[in-house]
Symmetry: D5
Subunit: 160 residues, 10 copies
């Protein structure tokens, strides 16, 4: 099976890295299994942004999971989108909300969640978590329930 | 206890590795405990396929679990079936759906799930998860519930 | 407190290792707390049996948990019973069912479960899980529920 | 803030280690937050007792958690109490039940649980778990539910 | 995006470390997403306080999670607040309750929880856990449920 | 700094994956620091080849380290070269020797070593190690010494 | 490349598992690189034998490394040889010496070493290590030196 | 003890992050123990640069160790210097050599080494290592010896 | 092979646990390979003794390695000997020296070493290491060299 | 064996924690084995001091090893000494040198070394290492050699 990458801007091509935050690089394609719910997770341990106060770099691993409805995100475009935060200044809590909103707008998914695990500053690290369930579907309730049961076993963190 | 391997094509014999994707190598045998639900998991850390766009190899660990009804999958035939993806091109999300469909067709199980954990490309890795519950049984509801509660504790991934 | 081991065949004595599969070595004693539910788990990382097709050894770690009713299993007799599989040929799925049946017969427990985690053959490993809840007690429902929610976080397996 | 240790026998003083099992060394003090439920866990990796049959030492890590009502256990007295098992002979299952009973009598807690994880003898290790919920409170139901959902992910044990 | 740190006392400035326990250093700012529930976790592995009986240092890792309503805690002020326990004497159970109360007063959050994991004294370590759900909201029930299901898988502790 | 990829066949271009073992895909470029010894290691956990007897896939992680003299290997060409073993049949010991020879021919390095860590077949795994020191340089002696002191702490392998 | 397995008894064929200790199952083949020293390690985590006093099973992981001279051991025959200890009684120290002698006789290697890591009995585990360097070669001295510098960092063992 | 930060540009002040590679931000101060050799290691897991061919981000953990002579590097200035690679394009091997040269020029140390451990691209990761020993001192020989004995136990890398 | 345990007091028999420190329980037997040097290590994670000042229990893991000359220690007698410290008071440094002396007297080994890794008291843990090389043999020099190169990579200890 | 603690100020008594850096709390006692070299290591994961520039707390794990000559350090006094850094301001490199000097003065040891592993500030952590060998003894050369071979395998640090 060979796939024609022509409808995509990024897939199978050399792509310029966006100079700053740019949600327009995100691309989507049709879900081949729209009647079947599945989870797709992206592990993104190379996420970096800037501190809006000091201008100094921040680093995180993002875990992004979603249940597609009609659309899947094209993974190379997601990579470029995440790169676009490299020289963008934003607080940890804002970043995960911003990504949530951009991906919900693009994908109109049944469900989506993002867990950011940032490296420490001053001995303290921050891990924000947001999610989304499509209103009027069972996933609206699922989103609420997953939030209620979030992270009952915090991972060990010792800053080494 | 000695088992007569004669009804099977693969079991206890030398088998040619299929040249490309071939679900016909899959074999099944009767479940000796059809009235008792059990889980059987296959750990498959040697799964590899090709990227349909670039033709370059992709690698994953697959975790395949099912609750048999009348049939069990013959494990050597499952091994050959997974080998048959070696020179087959498919996206990560498609692969797990394809395996799901082939095994559901073969086994008509009460329940089945597949979690693929792929190695990263461009710093980003993708882990799709699909499941199946036999319609008209309690496992239909179980499948939905397991999807709703899927992966609330993403494993640490740092690409090393 | 000193215990009189005289009623037991195996406890506190040198015991011959059974030459082959022998459930008659299993012994039980009265539960001192019959009105109080508790879980007792046995970790058995030294389990080995034979492949019924090739005659070659298989290895597994068994995790056996139960909630006793009137009887507790005498642990030294359990050890000998598990040793008795050493030269016995059986498929992975059959072994855990067989142990389940022998222990249920001996102990008439409220609840019992066995998870076998076998070492790989041909790159693929198999982990069967069975359980039992005493009919007519709440544990019948518990057994069903534990099966429905079994193993939502498969452990990492990489065959090294 | 400095605390007056005078009402306690063990706190802030040199204490003799009890020669054998002695629940009378346990001490309690008033819970400053009686209207607020909290969990308090004691990790006790230095627990040792004797085998009542062979007289040889057994070793375990105990995890003791409780939800106090009016009383908190004074931690130094708990340490001495656990030391008092050093030359006491008891089976694994009895030990955790005995500690449960002594602590319930002392603390009249809303909830209490003990998980003993013993080191192997003859290749087999035993991990008993008991709990308690105060009758007539919601914790009675909680205790039952925690037992029903106990240990669905047995930790890996390989005896090394 | 650059943020004006002027309304904050600590953010983007050199700050004196408070000489002793001082909740007044805590600062808050408006939640930009008040209509959307999210979890924010702080990992604080550098927490130290004094034993109120012996005056000797105690050490813990604190995991603090909350669901903001109108206010977010400014993270640098939280760091200073936690530093302020450095020369303060308090029992383990009191410390986590005190922090809970100070943060609830400051943030009026929908939900908040604190898990302290202290280092051992005399071979025994203590891990208190408290939480809070805003009365009259669904989080009141969530707090109760999270307490009921707290820590069913105690982490391995071996004092090394 | 932007690099002109034009002299290379693979760098910065889409490349066909070689259909079978093909050392001619390997490319080299001039070492910018020829007067300074350095170690360069490639971690290659995605190596797969075929068993020359059964035709079934084998998997390994290769660790390739070298001290360049005049030439550095172009890493994308190395990736393609390693891919070229995908449908090539060779024993474990031969594979690492073959790669050694190809890289020594290409790079004429001061030093080179390869450690292959293969996945088990039949419960047994094989880890061959070869190295090379340029004759007439101190690295000839270094190679001998590194072989003499090789792997005095074998990593734990339990086939899971 | 396809290999003709005909000169071997075990390779590429179904083989009976030897009923007891049988060094005659070992087979060797010519080293294709006799002029080049290399290390070959076998990881054998499925080794089991019997205690010569009690008749009860013992378990170990064996790490066997050698530097071939003219001969390589055929790995399937090695597997069968190790299986042949399954019903053989021998002390830990004797087992590793016996395997050493059998392999030295078969392979006449430049160097060979065996490290057995046994599971505990009575809380104590035993790890014997032996090696061999061909007399009259530099490897005689290497063997002595490796023994002198053996295991300066004992791995952590806690019997769980 | 309070230190007057006035002679330093970066220490104890807010510092702009350099827009691109800038060795001039590095600062040094007098070693208070010039007659005593010591090792100082910097762990730098937040290092990122750009690929000079594709312009896409690369990530690494750098381990930088040195034995100071007259000068110590001021750590905040080192942090800014490493930040200055954020938008700089360079190959992995060049980066570590460049840092080596800049730090040797600044510190004129007795000894210095850098080990870069980069994240994978296309399944392959690269770990360059360089060092330096001051000519005419024993450290010149030490540098050579450390290179000769470098990395005989490559860490496990599986790209997850 | 069956071994006649009759010459031994402890082997293959029920043995009383010595009430206090008693080196006379140690037994030895003839080394079957007196002309061949080998290492034998005992992992002893169940060691406990008493603090000579407070009378409170101390816990350690002992790693005991030796190169036998004419004698091997009978492992069951070693177990009883280590048990005999259970109610014996001694400082950490003294304990390892005492065991060294008792084993050297019993075994007259070529080489012997003991590394005790104790659990913390007051946040600090102590790990003493002693060794012995038989005077007039190469092992005298080996002992010195192993001491000189002891523990250059201290294991991570965080008291949890 | 009971020890008379009377000659010591700290041992077996309640001790005030020194308000600031105070080497006079250190105590020593006679080495009972002055003719036998041994290593004694202290693991100190609860070390904290203040940054001399910002006044904010720093945290480290210290590993202190020494070979005593005539004197051993009394461990409780060492604990108090390390506590005395709690409100003392000093740079990381100075702290380890200071402790080195104080302990060398107290103990006049044959050998001593300290490795400090500090938690990160601004994403960068610092690990200084110093040692000492008594002039005119073989340990002077040993100290130099251990420095030359220090830390060739830096532990993985990822700031989580
Ligand atoms: Ca649930
Ligand atoms: Ca990895
Ligand atoms: Ca990893
Ligand atoms: Ca593994
Ligand atoms: Ca493993
Ligand atoms: Ca283990
Ligand atoms: Ca639940
Ligand atoms: Ca630890
Ligand atoms: Ca296998
Ligand atoms: Ca272990
Ligand atoms: Ca302690
Ligand atoms: Ca060496
Ligand atoms: Ca631990
Ligand atoms: Ca930091
Ligand atoms: Ca880490
Ligand atoms: Ca960590």
């Amino acid at each position: 099976m060979t796939v024609d990458p022509s409808p995509f801007r990024a897939l199978g091509k050399k792509s310029a890295v966006p100079a700053t935050y740019d949600p327009s690089v995100l691309e989507r394609f049709e879900n081949a299994f729209p009647d079947r719910d599945m989870f797709v997770k992206f592990n993104a341990p190379e996420f970096t942004t800037l501190c809006p106060v000091t201008g100094q770099p921040d680093f995180a691993t993002l875990y992004i999971s979603y249940v597609p409805d009609r659309w899947l995100v094209e993974s190379k475009s997601l990579k470029l989108y995440l790169f676009s935060f490299r020289n963008h200044g934003a607080f940890h809590e804002s970043v995960v909300n911003l990504i949530r909103d951009d991906l919900v707008r693009l994908l109109e998914p049944k469900y989506l969640e993002i867990w950011g695990k940032f490296l420490p500053r001053g001995g303290l690290s921050i891990d924000p978590y947001v999610n989304y369930g499509k209103p009027g579907t069972p996933w609206e309730e699922v989103a609420k329930k997953r939030l209620y049961e979030h992270d009952m076993y915090p991972e060990k963190v010792d800053n080494r």
